[in-house]
């Protein structure tokens, strides 16, 4: 849904005749060019998953992180211009730190996301600066308030969610997230589903290699936000790979069946399917 705002899109301090601020909308388009990040809240925690595209084989594994720690109990997953996201993570860290220094306890996530959203919004008011070209998802876990998930976008708006997605495949990811019953799931179950969703929305044709960055915060980590431990991540990726390959195989079979319309050929394909499934599970 692209439109050109000729003449009214040169600065963030200008409205268009139909009441839009084009610079902010262009900033959101910058987010849509980046790879997907999702965050889902379950009954005892929050899980983040980021599809980190590997642009060069020379990159060290685990470098160019897209998930940041804002405070001990708060994590932040980003999409969009990474440099903008990094500077905003510093802003969020300072807010959380000042709050703790003044009031002696962990910053509530609703308040933190409102403060950072206010900061992002300030950059959409003046022509001297450009809006931030990144969206981010904040998640936290507190013993009394439970898990919380908030998303902030370049316009400076923040909402609370049970599940949200940002980046190029956000529509597809949202559809997958809506299928989940996250209110009844635990973090351990959710980690596998998050990995599965990232694998599903990843476009094998356009973007080849990617690294899955997973992090969580919840009762399972005692309220501390951290990257998912390696063994759990490996297990989640295995589950994700099985699910996505099964789906594509089944998809392939149904297509062939419709094309051939013959039960004999269907029987043969069924055998092949069983064998390949077995080999994968092993």
């Amino acid at each position: 849904m692209s439109s050109i705002g000729t003449g009214y899109d040169l600065s963030a301090s200008t409205f268009s005749p139909d009441g839009r601020v084009f610079q902010v909308e262009y900033a959101m388009k910058a987010v849509e060019n980046s790879s997907t990040a999702i965050g889902i809240r379950c009954k005892d925690g929050v899980v983040f998953g980021v599809e980190k595209l590997i642009l060069s084989k020379l990159y060290e594994q685990g470098s160019n992180k897209r998930i940041f720690n804002v405070d001990r109990h708060v994590g932040m997953a980003v999409a969009g211009l990474l440099a903008d996201a990094r500077s905003l993570s510093e802003v969020a860290r300072e807010e959380a730190s000042n709050f703790r220094s003044n009031y002696g306890h962990n910053i509530p996530l609703k308040y933190l996301s409102e403060r950072v959203a206010m900061y992002v919004h300030a950059y959409t008011l003046y022509s001297a600066v450009r809006p931030f070209g990144c969206s981010f998802i904040l998640g936290s876990y507190d013993q009394d308030d439970g898990p919380q998930l908030y998303m902030v976008d370049p316009s400076g708006i923040s909402f609370g969610y049970w599940g949200c997605a940002i980046g190029k495949a956000k529509q597809a990811a949202k559809t997958e997230i809506e299928k989940l019953q996250m209110k009844d799931m635990t973090c351990r179950e959710l980690v596998k589903e998050v990995a599965k969703i990232i694998y599903i929305v990843h476009d094998e044709v356009k973007d080849k290699a990617f690294e899955l960055e997973l992090s969580w915060v919840g009762e399972v980590t005692n309220g501390k936000h951290e990257l998912v431990p390696k063994d759990i991540r490996v297990e989640a990726e295995k589950y994700a790979k099985v699910c996505t390959t099964t789906t594509s195989l089944l998809h392939g079979i149904s297509v062939t069946w419709v094309q051939n319309n013959s039960t004999f050929k269907m029987g043969k394909k069924k055998q092949t399917l069983n064998i390949s499934l077995l080999s994968m599970v092993k």
Partner: protein, 217 residues
Amino acid sequence: MEIDFMDSQIKGVSTGTTILAVTFNGGVIIGSDSRASIGGYYVSSKTINKLIQVHDRIFCCIAGSLADAQAVTKAAKFQISFHSIQMESPPLVKAAASVLKELCYNNKEELQAGFITAGWDRKKGPQVYTVALGGMLLSQPFTIGGSGSTYIYGYADAKYKPDMSREECLQFATNALALAMGRDNVSGGVAHLVVITEEGVEHVVIPGDKLPKFHDE
């Protein structure tokens, strides 16, 4: 209670008051005497209120220089009120105590005031915090402060029990104040007590002649 520098050159000496706060099962009682004195020679007020309400369920009692304490609590009351509106929920007692602590610590050169903050919040229930002269913040089940407190440390340590009922706690606090006011020359007047629970806040004022009497009086 202006500072008489002849008498209190050592920093850390509280002057002219008895204050206390005690948690019980379901709430907290905060209490003080009502005497303001100048240098221990002249009672400048017999009925001063040392219990300041900083929010709906959070009270603060003051010790030390009255001027300093009033200035600090005024600033703290504003900050806590603003914080509570921004957060869209009542403030935590810890947050209120932290605000006081920041004011005391950052201005420790100029100020000579100590506080006891007590209140009730949804997260941790009834709590008591001491903010000492230089800005130390400490959480305790009960605490006593002011010059009169030195005379009742034994009584408080012996008679305090965790999880008291409201009546037991009220009796404990009244007795403690009465004993301190009986021995400390710069504490006296009436006993002000405030009972803070989830339901609300109740003021109890006990005039000097209605205070419990102990056998040596």
